[in-house]
Amino acid sequence: MTQIADTNVILHSLLSKRLADLIIEIYPQLIGKKGKNILLFSVGAELEEKLLDLNWWVIKIAFDLKRARKIGTFLENPRYLVLGQRFPEFYSCLKTIISEKHDKVLLGSFLEFVWEDLKAIEKFRKRGEALFPPVENEFNDLKEQKAFREIAERLRSANLGGVGNKDIEHLALSHCYIIQSKMRARFYTADKEISRHANSVKISSMIPDLEIYKVEFKMMEFNEEAIKRFAPHLGAKGN
């Protein structure tokens, strides 16, 4: 399975219990109601692998943390470099906590938060029907649609500065979904580049007391206005 853009949405939301809870709570209530919807894309098998990998790292770090004497140089051990490559946001977040606070207990509790969220996301992942598109076939079908290809092409041709291929795929999928459902959709992202371009971003800090650690999670309302602002060349909704 090739990588798709939105796994990073969920993977970023792994760090946020509130976001995970919110999604689990709100999704069944809002689906089907006109005007509101939550958009989530994922392919189970791919997410599972990342999730298990992150889980392994979280437990490993928590385990090593218990035995570590010096917390300052804790993450500079070469074995954590792989973590830095695989989950750069998570790694930098841990580094920020260590450099700013030097607190073993705090770091431990942060890891606990993350672990709780991993569980929440795993539960959420198991409810395949809540994810869109739920299966690989549907995803592939969607990718082959004319609307998807057109929009992806237009997004690529526009100079969006910093928005990568994955994000373009993600946005194109989002757009297709909007076209299909003919509803306004709510779009969750933690991607700084996407949020920089969108003016309708509402910042919501997911874990209390964590603002200082620069963990930024963003919630963007992906409606007609947002599309105009983000990519004016796309025109109105459904274009």
Binding site: L118, K119, K123
Partner: protein, 206 residues
């Protein structure tokens, strides 16, 4: 993965059902209000424990907590009288402690190697199970502090224990048979148990 050598399945299959069995089989003395649990499987368990301890004398496989639990169980079940509530709840508390020590050992084993996806799944499931056991153990300890133990409380805990051990047996079985789909199903079951059985905040490290 040397640490994935587990307790023999038949040992667990013998020991785990007693917890459920005994909640149904109890005798209440209406004059003294003393509750006694009884089970037909007690002599069988005692036999099994004796052989497990004998085997361990040569292999030194069991952890300290496991030996403590088995020793205590042997002492209680070899009596002619059936166990009283307080010693019985203490025994089950010890069994949870023994389970935690075994799971910690497995987890340590996995963390020391470069794991595959399958082993990562095992680690995830074990971590959830560990957190559940830690919550159970806390409940047992809080009950031990109380002077008067409420029988309904104990029964509730025993039932929860039975469910946890049931999942554990299935988890061990899936690990032994290297059955990935079974492991995934057990993992789901364990995660599903979280909400009805464990409402409290769970810790990453038991």
């Amino acid at each position: 993965m040397a640490e994935l050598r587990l307790l023999p399945l038949d040992y667990l299959e013998n020991v785990a059902p007693i917890f459920e069995d005994t909640t149904r089989n109890k005798y209440v003395n209406h004059r003294t209000k003393v509750v006694t649990f009884y089970s037909k499987t007690f002599p069988l368990i005692n036999k099994r424990i004796t052989s497990a301890l004998r085997e361990d004398d040569q292999s030194h496989y069991l952890t300290g907590a496991e030996r403590k639990f088995l020793g205590s169980a042997k002492r209680i079940f070899s009596k002619t009288k059936n166990p009283k509530v307080d010693e019985y709840s203490k025994l089950i508390g010890l069994s949870v402690e023994a389970t935690i020590s075994r799971l910690q050992k497995i987890r340590k084993g996995i963390l020391e190697i470069e794991p595959t996806r399958y082993q990562k799944r095992i680690l995830f499931t074990i971590s959830v199970q560990l957190a559940q056991c830690a919550t159970l153990l806390e409940r047992f300890r809080s009950i031990e502090k109380e002077r008067k133990i409420e029988i309904s409380q104990i029964e509730q805990l025993i039932r929860t224990c039975a469910q946890v051990f049931d999942d554990l047996i299935r988890l061990y079985a899936s690990i032994i048979h290297k059955d990935e789909s079974a492991l995934s199903a057990v993992s789901d079951q364990i995660l599903d148990n979280e909400r009805p059985l464990f409402h409290t905040h769970q810790r990453l490290f038991a």
